[in-house]
């Protein structure tokens, strides 16, 4: 039985407390850096490597955050698994879609390419922004909206300056990873593991 209770504010605050450890930024920053390396080196076969930081999130949370701050579950485990499954499916679908579009884009005529090329940074920046804003919305962590806006601005700026596609992603990766490491070090100092916080 769900209670109609004005608790959205409290839930949001709990989300912020639970994600103050900065591990999300560390993982997403690492994924962005790997994506940037793949784009700059044009070795698209290694794109799957961005899954490695994502796979490390839960073990990191278990090792760094849980012994210090404890653990909470916002939704029942089954619902959580379903949401994660849906997110993975959407991610894979987007990736498969991108792979399917790539040969089509390569095969189009020079004139068509000239028409499409100017809007590509708009599309890529928009996608990056939507993904980061989506993370912020999903986790109710508003600072990800800032990363989304920064990502969008960087992509457009670098494209306008004639830079390579991977460069804004690398810059954003450095910012997000740096912020994450800062948050982690602050969190570890603020919540040391001491005897008096062991379980009841």
């Amino acid at each position: 039985m769900k209670m109609s209770y004005p608790s959205t504010g409290l839930k949001r605050k709990l989300y912020l407390v639970y994600h103050q450890d900065g591990l999300l930024e560390v993982v997403i920053g690492a994924a962005l850096l790997i994506l940037a390396a793949v784009m700059l080196s044009e070795q698209m076969a290694f794109i799957g490597l961005i899954g490695i930081p994502a796979a490390l999130y839960l073990p990191l949370k278990q090792q760094i955050s849980v012994p210090r701050l404890g653990h909470i579950r916002f939704v029942p485990e089954r619902e959580s698994r379903m949401k994660l499954g849906l997110a993975l499916f959407l991610g894979l679908a987007a990736f498969a879609g991108a792979l399917a579009v790539y040969p089509v884009m390569k095969g189009i005529s020079r004139e068509s390419w000239a028409a499409v090329e100017p809007v590509l940074p708009l599309v890529f920046g928009g996608l990056l922004g939507v993904v980061l804003a989506g993370v912020g919305w999903f986790l109710k962590a508003t600072r990800f909206y800032v990363y989304a806006a920064l990502g969008l601005a960087l992509v457009w700026l670098v494209f306008a300056a004639g830079g390579r596609t991977g460069l804004p992603v690398a810059l954003l990766g450095v910012v997000v990873e740096g912020a994450g490491l800062l948050y982690v070090s602050r969190f570890v100092r603020a919540y040391p593991v001491t005897d008096d916080i062991r379980d009841a």
Partner: protein, 108 residues
């Protein structure tokens, strides 16, 4: 002669408040648990600032009233105590909120 009891009914209702919920530490715990599926002892200890002994006492009191469910398990050979609110706990918290709102409205 006006019926004093009828006039002051909303004020007198304070005496009917559920004392298990009314206590500040327990009200805090129930409010936190009402927006979560589960929270462990360490998290609640940090968030509420209650001492371990105090937190354990209030947890037990809420469990005895049937308002929270306490589950103990081992994660990585570490004992973990998980708390979750029961349907009865949600109802008690909602009733308390409604009564408190009525009471405060009466003061305005």
């Amino acid at each position: 002669m006006p019926d004093k009891e009828a006039i002051f009914a909303p004020l007198l209702a304070v005496g009917d408040f559920d004392k298990t919920v009314h206590e500040p530490a327990r009200l805090m715990l129930l409010s936190i648990l009402s927006v979560l599926d589960q929270a462990d002892f360490v998290f609640l200890h940090h968030l509420t600032g209650l001492t371990r002994g105090n937190l354990s006492t209030h947890m037990r009191r809420l469990e005895e009233a049937g308002y929270v469910r306490i589950e103990k398990e081992f994660v990585d050979r570490r004992p973990v105590t998980g708390l979750s609110i029961t349907p009865e706990g949600r109802t008690a918290l909602k009733d308390y909120r409604d009564k408190m709102r009525q009471f405060l409205d009466e003061l305005e």
